[in-house]
Symmetry: C2
Subunit: 269 residues, 2 copies
């Protein structure tokens, strides 16, 4: 293993080596993440890239339809992103397997039901079933939310391997969305302990004031893949007693989904 020459740096880089593609996607990420449309110069400052390079990169992204350049000189997400996502959603066999269970859970409770999966340090919402809604139609499909202040996030964290959990926790940055948001790893760990023994997680307005939920994890044979489902409701309809009453239902549904998974092991999560 060890060699005479020490010219090669051993393993300093944690950066994924994805070359040119990685740079382009990082740029795409930056632009789509921005709270408001960025102009060329804004991006220039944010990235520190040389003018020439940035210009070419943006041109490529726009030509590919991943970004749109408005007539007013700003850049925003391109329509092609929607097209790709539509395929991703349509093909997610995990979502397909879970769908009937979500629907049933919704019918049993009358409340909004979510399906989310762990990706990196965040939860991505894969599906949702809700009642008559006035606005915010399909809002959060695909949305990324923190693990430490969402029911599904905490539930998923409670079932991953110790190594993965440690890695995720070490990288967390606790933003105080509400007074109830966990403020550090210690508080979160304590909560996770309870969740592990109970088998389900609460979110008592930790991410958004007025919104509570009960969530249950779905574990799988694939250790790197954790997910969960939740029942979400406005605080006035979600008393602690009510949430406890819902817990068995979420657990049952999560379990049912888990049992249905093996039939289609893998194809596309």
């Amino acid at each position: 293993m060890s060699s005479k020459e020490d010219e090669k740096a051993p393993e300093i880089d944690k950066l994924a080596d994805t070359g040119t593609l990685g740079k382009a996607i990082a740029l795409l990420d930056l632009v789509t993440r921005a709270p408001e449309p960025l102009r060329f110069t804004d991006i220039l400052k944010l990235t520190g890239l040389p003018r020439g390079s940035l210009h070419r990169q943006l041109r490529h992204l726009v030509l590919e339809g991943l970004l749109d350049d408005s007539p007013d000189g700003t850049y925003g997400p391109g329509l092609r992103l929607l097209e790709f996502a539509s395929r991703a959603w349509a093909k997610s066999s995990f979502r397909e397997v879970a769908a009937p269970h979500l629907l049933r859970l919704h019918q049993q409770t009358g409340e909004t039901v979510h399906l989310g999966v762990l990706r990196g340090h965040e939860i991505i919402y894969l599906d949702k079933v809700e009642g008559r809604q006035a606005l915010r139609l399909h809002s959060q499909i695909g949305k990324a939310s923190p693990v430490y202040c969402t029911g599904i996030g905490k539930a998923a964290l409670s079932v991953v391997s110790d190594e993965l959990r440690a890695e995720i926790l070490s990288a967390l940055c606790f933003e105080p969305f509400t007074p109830g948001t966990h403020k550090d790893v210690a508080a979160l760990l304590e909560d996770l302990q309870k969740i592990k023994s109970a088998g389900f997680a609460f979110d008592m307005e930790e991410h958004e004031i007025g919104i509570r939920c009960v969530a249950a994890p779905i574990s799988s044979n694939d250790a790197a893949f954790a997910s969960g489902i939740s029942i979400t409701a406005p605080a006035f309809r979600a008393s602690p007693e009510q949430l406890k009453a819902w817990a068995p239902l979420v657990l049952e549904a999560a379990h049912a989904i888990q049992l249905d998974i093996p039939r289609r092991l893998g194809p596309a999560k």
Copy 2:
């Protein structure tokens, strides 16, 4: 311009010059488009790329989260695509402007209402409002459909510049989804003539048996940007008379959206 050596092909390539990124996205497109999960060898045959190159490209795409590799060796769309799209959707100011009008149109008719925009040779659905649905929840947001057999597609085609329309028509490939699908440019052009004078378009089960719609175009000051809205209903509720009765409502809504656009010219479509 002309040189002695004829070794270099003059200007055959219409391909957009997006270098390395273009190749990666083309591959992503191929994989996400596939009706069923592809294995390494399948992709190898489809692309004709050399083993080494393909292997690296796929690895990069997987590392970036744009593709997922299942334990069974197949590749499918990655979760990061959903994340990107969620941002694209949330930031689409055009969608935001149109939303209340879609909702009103839905309340007036009780039927499903769509918002779609023209991208390349296809229509991308940006939003939809529908009633109580059993399944197929948010199915087609982001979905791409042909211009020649959808109400919104034909409506949008009727308002773009002659040059753009000619370019799109020349590249179309008429797939006969139903007996009513237009079979060639001539038939489509005839239909477009009617649509232009009427101001709205019908889709009489041209894309899917049992599904009909009325659609109206939304034109904008930006010539390259065409879109439309539609009321869609099952054939038994959408007699020709009923569709004609709906037409003024769609036209009115489309017009209202058009008037609302200038307020936020541009940012992100």
